[in-house]
């Protein structure tokens, strides 16, 4: 279990306990947090689960797999701290992770 904080673009803070093994995307979708569309259901084929992770977390997250950066090319306003939340699998190590949800997904 890890506490994940999702900050929506209207600055609302949603603190959610997400089970290990789920993705950060699933944690948002299952808890009705708005702003993560996840159109392809985690297939790394849509870039509509894009989030910005807090800078201090960048190095602590699992590295990007082949293809994630390619998909991020298509995301809304990608930045250096952009990730696809469907590629972030929750474990105890992610306890405390904070992600900002962009104002749009596409």
């Amino acid at each position: 279990m890890a506490k994940i904080t999702y900050i929506t673009s209207d600055d609302k803070i949603h603190e959610i306990d997400v089970q290990n093994g789920l993705t950060v995307m699933e944690g948002a979708v299952q808890n009705d947090i708005p702003g993560i569309d996840a159109d392809c259901g985690g297939g790394m084929a849509c870039a509509t689960c894009h989030v910005y992770v807090k800078e201090e977390w960048l190095d602590k997250l699992p590295t990007k797999e082949d293809g994630e950066e390619d998909m991020l090319d298509m995301a809304f306003e990608p930045k250096k701290n952009s990730r696809l939340s469907c590629q972030l699998v929750v474990s105890d190590d992610l306890d405390g992770l904070t992600v900002d949800i962009p104002s749009k997904q596409g």
């Binding site: 159109d39 392809c40 297939g43 849509c46 390619d70 090319d73 306003e77 250096k80 596409g106």
Partner: protein, 339 residues
């Protein structure tokens, strides 16, 4: 006006197999899809990836699955309307009148929505003012490259479409190629070619830049691009092209009076009918308790919706359940010899 027993919206795996089921039981159908090709997500998002959970097919790629489904409906002459989006569905008497973006009109008692996660549309620039110039000086696909001759064209994107057009247009136009990072995802040979043309000064390459603004009153004059290090450049340009792939958008389906929740349409599990009589939803786009967004579920849903269509298309006939292995009528429809 095209009259048909059932109109299918969406040529993904679900729409294709639903067409097969309709034709087997003797109903006509036509299929509309906004993509320029058949296959939905399988062909657009993962043509080369293997799928392992199609019943009785241990392994096949998205493209192979699509080709097999197309082969399976070959015996029937089914009309496809590609690169057309269904925009309107309206009731008229006992029929639905369906209108597409190309003004094709259908009259049908049955509309089957196999629309997946929505229609595939180009991703657009996020700079708001871009809308104003869309289809005049800003484009997301190219119909006639002649218009760019002798002009300055700014191309955005890092995939094959962006790179191919940068190479092609650099022959007769001044080309700026702008991409958000140093790596390109296009074919290596094209990437090399672009880099060579950039070295020769035939393409102006701006990597780690993104568009932040656009200027021009009636005519596009220039665009602002900003780098990761906050450096801003102003590029004079006549045309802007954006190649950011496709995104699925529910779009017009939201306006047809259907019960929609979280981009899916509520249906019953007997006929896969929506809250509107004669409109069904099958595949990824439908929702009911226990729905699984899998290809195999779409096949089952399509088979049941097809049977439901029979009643409205042939009100004076009774549907008879038959096996393909033993029914003469079905074998005739398939054009195979009986035994």
């Amino acid at each position: 006006m095209n009259k048909t027993d059932a109109l299918i919206i969406g040529a993904g795996p679900t729409g294709l197999f639903t067409a097969h089921q309709l034709k087997l039981i003797g109903l006509d159908c036509e299929i509309v899809d906004n993509l320029d090709k058949i296959g939905g997500q399988c062909i657009e998002l993962y043509p080369d990836k293997p799928i392992y959970d199609i019943p009785a097919v241990p392994e096949c790629t998205g493209e192979e699955l699509t080709n097999n489904l197309i082969n399976q409906i070959k015996p029937f002459d089914i009309k496809f309307h590609l690169s057309e989006r269904v925009d309107e569905v309206k009731k008229e008497g006992d029929n639905w009148i369906v209108k597409t973006s190309n003004d094709t009109i259908f009259q049908t008692p049955n509309v089957i929505i196999a629309g997946g996660v929505g229609s595939f549309e180009p991703r657009k620039f996020f700079v708001k003012e871009c809308e104003k110039f869309e289809n005049q000086s800003i484009f997301y696909s190219i119909k006639d490259k002649k218009m760019f001759e002798g002009k300055t064209v700014s191309i955005f994107g890092g995939g094959d479409s962006a790179l191919d057009w940068a190479v092609e247009l650099s022959k007769n136009s001044k080309v700026n190629l702008i991409h958000r990072r140093d790596d390109f995802r296009g074919a290596q040979a094209t990437v090399d070619k672009v880099k060579q043309l950039a070295n020769e000064g035939k393409i102006n390459l701006f990597t780690k830049f993104q568009m932040t603004g656009i200027k021009g009153e009636n005519k596009l004059e220039s665009i602002d691009i900003k780098s990761d290090d906050k450096e801003v450049k102003i590029l004079k340009t006549d045309y802007v092209l954006g190649f950011f792939g496709l995104i699925m958008q529910l779009g017009p389906i939201a306006n047809w009076g259907l019960n929609i929740d979280k981009k899916t349409i509520e249906v019953d599990t007997e006929k896969f009918e929506t809250n509107q009589k004669g409109i069904y939803a099958v595949g990824d786009i439908c929702s009911y308790p226990g729905k699984l967004k899998l290809i195999l579920s779409g096949f089952h849903e399509g088979a049941l919706a097809a049977r439901a269509c029979f009643k409205l298309a042939r009100p004076n006939e009774k549907y008879r359940f038959e096996f393909t292995t033993s029914s003469k009528t079905i074998k005739n429809r398939l054009g195979v010899k009986g035994d």
